[in-house]
Amino acid sequence: MALTRVQVQHIAELAKLKLTAEETERMTQQLSAILDYAARLQELDTAAIPPTASVVPLHNVLRADVIQPSLPPSAVLANAPDKDDGGEFFRVKAILKE
């Protein structure tokens, strides 16, 4: 099925991806070709077939609600692009005005 440029732009917005005009063009063609290929799944009658989300028959694996040791804040923040001066918080620019 052929996707339109507008659809591709909409998906990029949902996926939070900035695409150049050239990327959008190429993506429109390539995704259309892949979806055409995927359309062959429609040949199969699956009305009575349950979906498989996972092959492991596990449900709600719980652990005891006990505090476990965890990483110190300095280790957690070590990879942060930006953090506060006290080394306690990840920092991003304010998006709300006072």
């Binding site: 699956t46 996972s54 092959v55 492991v56 070590a78 692009p81 620019k93």
Partner: protein, 505 residues
Amino acid sequence: MKLYELTIHQARALLARGEISASELTRAVLDRINAVDARVQAYLTLVAERALEQAHAADAQWAEHRRAGKCGETPPLLGIPMAIKDEICTRGVRTTAGSKILDNFVPPYDATVMEKLYAAGGILLGKTNQDEFAMGSSTENSRYFATHNPWDLERVPGGSSGGSAAAVAADEALFALGTDTGGSVRQPAALTNTVGLRPTYGRVSRYGVIAFASSLDQVGPIAKDVRDAATILGVIAGHDPREATSVNVPVEVHVEALIKAQDLAPLHGVRVGVPREYFGAGLQPGVAQAVRAAIRVLEALGAATQEVTLPHTDYSLPTYYLLAPAEASANLARYDGVKYGLRLEESNEMWEVTPALAWGASVRATRGEGFGAEVKRRIMLGTYALSAGYYDAYYLKAQQVRTLIKQDFDRAFEQVDVIVGPTSPIVAFKIGERADDPLQMYLADVFTLGQALAGIPAISIPCGFDQGLPVGLQIAARAFDETRLLQVAYAYEQATEWHTRKPGL
């Protein structure tokens, strides 16, 4: 024999007798890396000094055990140098997943498999190249550089664990770990004459393994022979309280125990299924020939072969390429530039006027720049398959077909113990040959996707050559029946010498 050419079990015998030290072994492998990696380009990051320190400590441990006459009690990988795919978090050692969005990421913790490997005495040499976020079949999707196949440097080593496979094939490590979501351990193993094992889904913890498609991802060894692969599986398998899908199910990893020495028919009573769908159009004639010859070897070893059918084989490709991208689009949503990784910011002017819009634009810019073409393609595909109005037609439909694919295997395993066929329909292709056509690239995975979707274990082992390039035989077994899989693989390996062939580097 050169030290870097040793298998784990050969090196272990020499270490136990004190004929070599872990330091000598590690230095020999590091020298080998220095000699050949400029051409192979298997490694993204090397930690030579750290490796030598670890080797020194391993030597002390060996000496202690030798004095006490208790070498048999040393941990199974003590003093063995290893390479780890960059998808796996290594505390203090840069881990990029082959992506620019994680270019500067240094994990604050080890993946569970790393804790287990270190506890078993393994020595980390470095991190290996891969397709970005494990999305690819050639390692050309690495954002850093392409890895070259040691058997022909103009060709790809397969992917996505191409760096790990190339490192083992070129004797730049005694073994490596890869990850396999739809074939990323088995296909590169097939293309490089190495052994690659995808364990049963749930067998190995993924804690600390950068997530791609969580209902499919598994960690597996790439090794020089089946015996080594089994040893590594024994080390990394088992339940992990931090990984809800992991379970404890026993497996026999001492493969020597699985067949009797001098037994002329070690596979007597083993039923081997050959799916007719694996020998259709698209299979390279030379690959078909090598695999057919391997099946005759299994028969000569006493196995009873029979044709089986996996009627939905052709649907595994579209099923996988809807489900895996859908899961990836959710898993990769975390890369927003807040807690780690790349952050790009919009101009100050935009922040002044409309800060909320500037925030959204910054995240889009970070991800647009940080991710490469294939990753963006899959995020887009997955987002579309999950979006309102298309969910039933694509995502739900693919989940239903996944059930049919799993049922195919369930039915076949009512008749047979293992299923064999080619790992890859083709031998290693030229770098650049398929890079511009995503669908052509996806077809490289056509025989490795079904087992992943069904969650069953599968191994690729060397079974011959076509035009001088390696061919892999794939053996799959029932869920958690790695013991049977290893028995068949080991019996074949004992009867043949393909796995001992080395590339002329």
